[in-house]
């Protein structure tokens, strides 16, 4: 791990879409470190994905700056940025049946020269990424034939092959069944713990934040509302029934269950939306 644990610093970051009146991301200041999971939560349209696009360099900021290990990302070429930050999308549209191995090899793009030729070292990195994601058996299959769960693992392996110190994930488990979701999160925990990568994950599930916290990796949860940071802290501190009520308009309860590790695991119980509870009272 590096001496300076701060990897990404967002400093007053604002972004307004062209022709939009209000900013989608408004004065966001936060830090995300190596070896840490940062969960980004908030209602649909609160600016999570826009913020991720800002860190990816996809959106040029209206104001503020994003520092990566002290360097302003707007001064980095795409290839230099891609050596530091990789990306796992929510869905990937598959147009052509590339082999899984070739898709993961695409993670080596920022290191390849003008002809894009890959070395034996690149192949080894690909094999290692496949192994870490436990998908070696899929290596020679066309990726169009994979299930949603396998597909997200391939995209995670591609991000690993990029050997970045930071991985951005935009609701990576939104389309997975709960076993695959759990398996994806377990892999993320392994990577954070063993490889020391920093993970920045937009999610809709408080239980994911609780899971990361429970698994023992340093976890920070940032709640966003209307483009701004609402609150930041440990999941068990910020994901309270009051905050969930204020942000999502739901009545929910946080329950704690003992587990074999000795640490209790928090989970959310959703009870009703605000509107519905009014109806019931009436």
């Amino acid at each position: 791990m590096k001496a300076d644990p701060v990897l990404v610093q967002l400093d007053g970051v604002s972004y307004t879409y062209p022709q939009a009146s209000a900013p989608a991301v408004d004065q966001v200041t936060l830090e995300a470190g190596a070896g840490t999971v940062t969960c980004l939560m908030g209602v649909n349209g609160c600016g999570k994905s826009t913020l991720i696009d800002c860190i990816l360099g996809e959106n040029s900021l209206t104001s503020g700056q994003i520092l990566l290990d002290g360097t302003d990302i707007s001064t980095l070429r795409p290839s230099a940025l891609a050596r530091k930050v990789s990306y796992v999308p929510q869905v990937h549209e598959r147009a052509f049946p590339y082999l899984v191995r070739d898709v993961v090899l695409m993670g080596r793009t920022p290191y390849q020269g003008i002809l894009g030729s890959s070395s034996d070292a690149d192949q080894e990195i690909v094999d290692r990424a496949l192994r870490l994601c436990r998908i070696e058996r899929l290596a020679d299959r066309p990726y169009t034939q994979l299930s949603g769960g396998e597909m997200q693992m391939v995209l995670l392996a591609r991000a690993l092959a990029q050997q970045t110190s930071f991985i951005l994930m935009d609701e990576p488990t939104a389309h997975l069944d709960f076993r695959n979701e759990l398996s994806f999160m377990e892999t993320v925990v392994q990577l954070v713990r063993n490889q020391g990568v920093g993970v920045f994950i937009a999610t809709h599930s408080p239980n994911q934040a609780f899971f990361f916290e429970w698994s023992g990796v340093p976890t920070v949860c940032t709640l966003m509302s209307a483009g701004r940071v609402y609150q930041t802290g440990a999941p068990s501190q910020v994901l309270t029934s009051e905050n969930l009520h204020d942000l999502y308009g739901v009545h929910a309860r946080i329950v704690s269950t003992p587990t074999s590790t000795g640490r209790p695991l928090n989970q959310i119980l959703l009870i009703s939306t605000e509107e519905c509870s009014h109806d019931q009272k009436r």
């Binding site: 062209p18 696009d53 990816l56 360099g57 996809e58 070429r77 795409p78 290839s79 230099a80 940025l81 891609a82 050596r83 930050v85 990789s86 990306y87 999308p89 990937h92 549209e93 147009a95 052509f96 049946p97 590339y98 082999l99 070739d102 695409m106 993670g107 793009t109 920022p110 390849q112 003008i114 002809l115 894009g116 058996r137 290596a139 020679d140 066309p142 169009t144 591609r158 990029q162 951005l168």
Partner: protein
């Protein structure tokens, strides 16, 4: 133990795959060369095998061959100045259309895209029409006009699609559709005002595509074709990355805006070169890349050169049929679809879409 066995069988699978890939590659690149040679022997005017070799020898300056062929200058002219340039032109046109078709399909992430998606064909058609109606039907005039307007059409589509510092796929396709519509209307206008006795037949014939008037003088068009195809080979791996979508391509480290522009420019150069050599030929650029994918998989580093080779072979066969099936030549654009479509259906049925979808 278990991993050891798995590794061995994986290595064996990879070995078989490599062998099959090697066979396909050698076959694909040898075929167009063989077909060019075959083309020299076939035609409505019978020429003996000896005369074909004699003519070639004379053309290459082999001593002795020159004397014996002098008396049979008709054979020499036919082989060296008619059949040979025509065969090579067919190969170049097929390679250009299929190679750039594969690249366009990759960049647009859409297997239904053809090289004319950005309006190069309708632009070139209008250029040719303009030349025929207002200047001359001579190829030396028509070809540069076709090339120029083909390129202009793509530039127009590109500028329409350009939003800030990006060119989203949907905007490019819309831009191409708009520009194609305008140039198609202008082609109709040109047909309307063309002299029905002299100019109209020339124009219609050009629009159907033909290699019948090809001679060495038209080989200036081989330059943009070659530049475009070489550039596409160099850029092929970037086509792979771009086919992941703009956002992912960027996160993988590509300068998406620049690389898309380079690939569109290269594919346009070779397509415009092909169109000004042969007129408008459809189908090849759309379908040959799919045949390429069945043979070689989707990796554009293999697919683009292999599609180019397959396109060359396909056009050579079609052109041979065009000039031998009937006493008057069949327009090449007609046969590409009439022969190509059933062949494609056959391949679809045979592979059941395996390794391709």
């Amino acid at each position: 133990m278990r991993t050891g066995t798995a590794n061995t069988s994986a290595a064996a699978t990879r070995g078989r795959r490599a062998l099959r890939a090697g066979t396909v590659t050698v076959g694909a690149y040898a075929l167009p060369v063989a077909l060019v040679i075959v083309s020299l022997f076939i035609g409505r005017y019978p020429i003996s095998a000896g005369d074909v070799f004699g003519s070639l020898g004379a053309a290459l300056g082999v001593s002795g061959a020159a004397d014996s062929i002098q008396a049979r200058s008709a054979a020499y002219t036919l082989v060296v100045n008619v059949r040979l340039p025509r065969a090579i032109a067919a190969a170049l046109v097929g390679a250009a259309l299929a190679g750039s078709g594969a690249a366009f399909q990759g960049v647009f992430r859409n297997p239904l895209v053809s090289p004319s998606i950005l309006g190069v064909s309708s632009g070139a058609g209008f250029g040719a029409a303009l030349a025929i109606v207002f200047f001359s039907s001579a190829t030396a005039v028509v070809a540069p006009f076709a090339f120029l307007f083909g390129v202009l059409a793509v530039i127009a589509s590109y500028l329409i699609a350009r939003v800030y510092r990006s060119t989203p796929t949907i905007m490019l396709i819309l831009g191409g559709t708009i520009v194609s519509a305008v140039f198609s209307a202008l082609i109709s206008l040109m047909k309307f005002i063309a002299d029905p006795e002299t100019q109209l037949p020339n124009l219609v014939y050009w629009l159907m595509g033909s290699l019948s008037a090809i001679g060495w003088e038209q080989f200036a068009a081989a330059i943009p074709i070659a530049i475009g195809l070489i550039a596409l080979d160099v850029l092929a791996w970037r086509v792979n990355i771009l086919s992941m979508g703009d956002k992912e391509a960027r996160s993988l480290g590509l300068d998406v805006f620049r690389d898309k522009l380079l690939i569109i420019a290269a594919a346009t150069l070779s397509t415009a070169g092909a169109v000004c050599m042969s007129g408008v030929i459809g189908w090849v650029g759309l379908v040959i890349p799919h045949i390429g994918r069945m043979l070689a998989g989707s990796d554009n580093r293999r697919l683009i050169p292999l599609s180019a080779a397959a396109g060359a072979s396909f056009m050579l066969v079609i052109d041979l049929l065009c000039r031998t099936l009937s006493s008057s030549e069949i327009p090449i654009g007609v046969l590409t679809a009439l022969i190509g479509a059933p062949f494609f259906v056959y391949l679809l049925k045979k592979t059941k879409g395996r390794d391709w979808q």
